[in-house]
Symmetry: C2
Subunit: 203 residues, 2 copies
Amino acid sequence: MINRPFSSSVLEAAVDAFASLPGIGRKTALRLVLHLLRQEDSHVENFGKLLTTLKQDIHYCTVCHNISDTDVCSICQDSSRDRTKLCVVENILDVMAIENTMQYNGLYHILGGVISPMDGIGPADLEIASLIDRVKSGEFSEVIFALSPTMEGDTTAFFISRQLSGTNVRLSVIARGIAVGNSLEYADELSLGRSIVNRTKME
Amino acid sequence: MINRPFSSSVLEAAVDAFASLPGIGRKTALRLVLHLLRQEDSHVENFGKLLTTLKQDIHYCTVCHNISDTDVCSICQDSSRDRTKLCVVENILDVMAIENTMQYNGLYHILGGVISPMDGIGPADLEIASLIDRVKSGEFSEVIFALSPTMEGDTTAFFISRQLSGTNVRLSVIARGIAVGNSLEYADELSLGRSIVNRTKME
C-alpha cells in the first residue's frame, strides 16, 4: 500500500528517513511522520535539532569507549569498583543489562560491535587495539567476554584471546545454558548441549 | 532495564525524543539512537535537518487538505476523476488505502482526525467547516463517509450528516461486514450482525 508515489516529496523524504531505521517499515514510518505533524512545532523542531548535532554532541569515554558526558565515564571513575576485572561487551545496551543484574562490580570495555565480515566489520573497526593495550598494561587479573552467543561473537572473542595469549590474565566467557524459568523441552539443542557440558556442582 | 539513569544526558535526550513516538518504547528508542550513532555523520545530520523544518515544509492542499507539494493536490487537479463524488476520510493513510483498491475515482476530503472528546478533539479542530462549504457549493451529488468504525468515527459522520441535512446530496457510508477471506466463526458479533442487516443481493 505504501509503494504508490506519495503526494508530497517532503513527506516522502521524511518517510524514507524513518524507514531507514532498523525494524521500521514504510507504513510505520508514515504513521510516525503523521504523528509528528500533529505535534507542536517546537517539539518537532527540537527533535530535529537534537538529531542534527547528535553525532557531534555524543562523547565516548576515552578509557572504556562507553557513551559518556565526561572524558572518563562514571564507571571508569568509580574507585569502589573492582579494578582487576574487565568485562568485554558489544555496546552500551549490554553494559546496562549487566549493571542491572547487580552481579558484576568490575570495569567494562565496549568494542562497538563484533567482527562480521558479512557486514564489512573487521577488527580495525572495533575498539580491539585499545582493549589489548589496556589488558597488556597489567591492571587486570581477569577478562570476561560477554559477547552475543553467535558465530560473530565467538569469532571476536577468539580473535582477541589469541592476541592476549602469553599474558597472565585469566580469560573467561559468560556461562551459556538454559535460561532461568525456561522449560527444557523448549530450549534449543545448542544451549541445552552447552548447559550439560558446562554443568556446575550443586551447592 | 532502561529505567536506570543513562551515562550521557545527550543520549538520554535522544532516547526521550524517539520514545515520544507512538509504539516506540525506551528500549527500542535506545536501539534506534545506537543505530544512528553508527551511521555516517551526513546521514544523521540530514535526518535532523529534515525534521527541524518538517512542519514548515509540509504543505496541505487548500481544497481537500491532503498533504501536497502544490497548492492544489494532484487528485483535486485531475479532471479525469468523477467530480460529483466526495469521500470523507480521516488522514492521508486512508486516501492511499482507498486509491490502492482502484475502486474509487471521485474526490476526497481529509478531516485530519475524528471528533474525540476524550482526546480533546472537537469539530473546530477538524476540517469540517470547509467540508460543509464544499458540499453546500452544490458540486457533489454524493458524500461517502469512510471513517473508522469506532464510536468516534460514527459520531463524526453523524455530526457532519446533521449539518448537511436539507441539502440534496446523497450521504452514504462504506459497507461494514465480514472481511473478504475471513471465516464467520472468527468474526466479531457486531461486524457479523451488520453484515446480515446490510446484506446485498447476489449478482
